[in-house]
Symmetry: C2
Subunit: 109 residues, 2 copies
Amino acid sequence: MDMESALSTRFAALADPTRRAILARLAEGEATVSELRKPFPISQPAISKHLRVLEQAGLIETGQDRQTRPRRLKAGALRDAAAWLGRIDALWSGRLDRLDEFLTRQTEE
Amino acid sequence: MDMESALSTRFAALADPTRRAILARLAEGEATVSELRKPFPISQPAISKHLRVLEQAGLIETGQDRQTRPRRLKAGALRDAAAWLGRIDALWSGRLDRLDEFLTRQTEE
DNA sequence: TGGCTATATAACCAACTAGATATCTGATTG
DNA sequence: CAATCAGATATCTAGTTGGTTATATAGCCA
């Protein structure tokens, strides 16, 4: 998958509120499907489907613990998306030389 | 529109490569529909549709110059999306830092 | 062994999307 | 005025998405 369509897949994965909530949960630590399911009023297969989307977008990975398959966030997975946004923002605000500052500001908040 | 669904709309708008290319072009300065259309092998109505998606996502705005309706990037429009990514990334890498620190401490003691 | 738990897969459906062509409005120009 | 140009809008279609229920697979426990 080329970089362009990887970015499309990634942003598309981020466009769903359930998936963003799952990512926010996983940012606090790995979790099983059952744990991830709890906050949502949707079926288990629906959650599994969301997880598949997130995994194909390269945002999470799956572990193996005998009976469960805990998911965890992939380190730095969001950075290329953030970098794209930062590049556009920097270009528009005429501060291409301060891209680093933009990215730093995002992660410092 | 609440913040959550605004974020969904925004990421969804960013998920299309044509729309990202339009944004990248607009980051260099405002442009008319005809100008924006040039690089793409798709119809004019398709471009207008993309522009409507971008405008509804709050990413661009439309001007009025007698015959043309130039689009321009909305200042800072990408920042809330970038901020969301930054928050997740910071949370997760904060954890990784602690893990790293933890492992370092283990091997040193 | 048999039943429970965790998760995946399949088949289906309604809603949405990105594109197309056709047509319309309004401003510009010959 | 008529022709043209910029752009918007309407309608259609194929493909994708987010959900469902039903079922399958595999580990765990009595």
